[in-house]
């Protein structure tokens, strides 16, 4: 089965690599996340990133809480684009039409506009890939459980296991 999932993840990763190659002197890292902020893939620019940098070694999982926090504290409605200045770079985060997020870390504010154009260019492709990923994953994995399980059922399982194996 899941060669489809593996293939889609590889395509997402290729897109992230292409984004870096669009501006290799500016983009330090690219993260592609699902709509809950879980990182599906990330690519770091080895020319600009020190291999020992712990932030880049462990992909962040803060996007959903960041977005939720902003929406609840600021009267700005839904958040589709976030720009944040840090000491070591600038984060640009863009919503991929509620299918997920793309986040890049760039070197300087001079390239913010250019990078935004680059990100928008990849939005359609990533949207298609994330939708496919979600549908393939759910198709393969979802179990429909609609009959209520009782304590007696569990008791039967325990007794069944004990009958098959001397504990």
């Amino acid at each position: 089965m899941n060669s489809d999932i593996q293939r889609i993840i590889n395509e997402v990763r290729s897109s992230a690599e292409e984004i870096i190659s669009e501006s290799p002197d500016q983009i330090r890292a690219v993260y592609i996340m699902d709509r809950e902020g879980t990182v599906i893939t990330y690519v770091t620019n080895t020319i600009l990133i020190n291999a020992g940098n712990t932030f880049f070694a462990a992909p962040p999982r803060f996007i959903s809480s960041l977005k939720g926090g902003l929406v609840s504290t600021l009267p700005i409605g839904d958040v589709n684009y976030i720009l944040m200045q840090g000491v070591d770079g600038i984060i640009q985060l863009m919503n991929i039409r509620d299918a997920g997020y793309i986040m890049v870390i760039i070197n300087s504010e001079a390239s913010i506009g250019l990078i935004r154009i680059i990100l928008e260019k990849y939005t359609d492709r990533l949207y298609d890939l994330l939708r496919k990923l979600l549908s393939v994953s759910e198709e393969e994995v979802i179990e429909v459980i609609n009959v209520e399980i009782t304590p007696k059922d569990i008791e039967d399982v325990i007794n069944f296991i004990k009958s098959k194996a001397v504990m």
Binding site: E36, T150, P151
Partner: protein, 184 residues
């Protein structure tokens, strides 16, 4: 006659012993594990779970237990919630051969605690036969396991140990169901 399905998820980080656990159980119990799964070579390990391990055990004509193994690697974390949806309980296996390995499990354990806060579960400290194994109180402390959750020693290659852990999880699920029926 509708078939009742009990869904149990085997979670834990990469290399914790999830596949071994299901394999050991299948040596003793009539678990069908021939349902299609995918294996591939990643990170030097001979084989790793890319999709999920799957075992099915028929208890009665109308009662089946399904075991799902969750891929431990972070890059498949988007699938964790999808696989876990609708589960009755989960076993969280950690490699307890060193403190570093236990610490590596913290992110995934937090994920499950945050996303499935009331689902019954047991933490199994695997590789307790290794001389450097971390003791249970330390594991509880590192993972910040709630006091009511059991942390049990496990040797996933040992049938008795694997069965004992599975039965303990089932007992936790049964207690939870009894409690829920009282509250209704």
């Amino acid at each position: 006659m509708p078939i009742k399905t009990i869904k149990i998820v085997i979670a834990g980080p990469y290399g914790a012993g999830k596949t071994t656990f299901v394999k050991t159980l299948s040596e003793v119990l009539p678990i069908e594990t021939d349902v299609p799964i995918m294996k591939s070579s990643i990170d030097g390990k001979k084989s790793t779970t890319v999709a999920f391990d799957y075992g099915r055990m028929k208890v009665r004509e109308d009662l089946v237990v399904h075991l799902f193994g969750i891929p431990g690697q972070e890059r498949f974390s988007f699938m964790w919630k999808i696989i876990a949806r609708g589960m009755h309980g989960y076993l969280f296996i950690v490699d307890s051969s060193s403190e570093e390995r236990v610490k590596e499990a913290l992110g995934m354990y937090n994920f499950f605690r945050e996303n499935f806060p009331s689902t019954p579960h047991v933490v199994a400290a695997n590789k307790q036969d290794v001389p450097t194994a971390v003791d249970i109180p330390t594991i509880k402390s590192i993972l910040k396991v709630p006091y009511e959750v059991k942390v049990m020693p496990l040797i996933a290659t040992n049938r008795r140990s694997a069965l004992f852990v599975l039965v303990t999880l089932l007992e936790e699920i049964r207690s939870y169901l009894i409690e829920m029926s009282r509250l209704r």
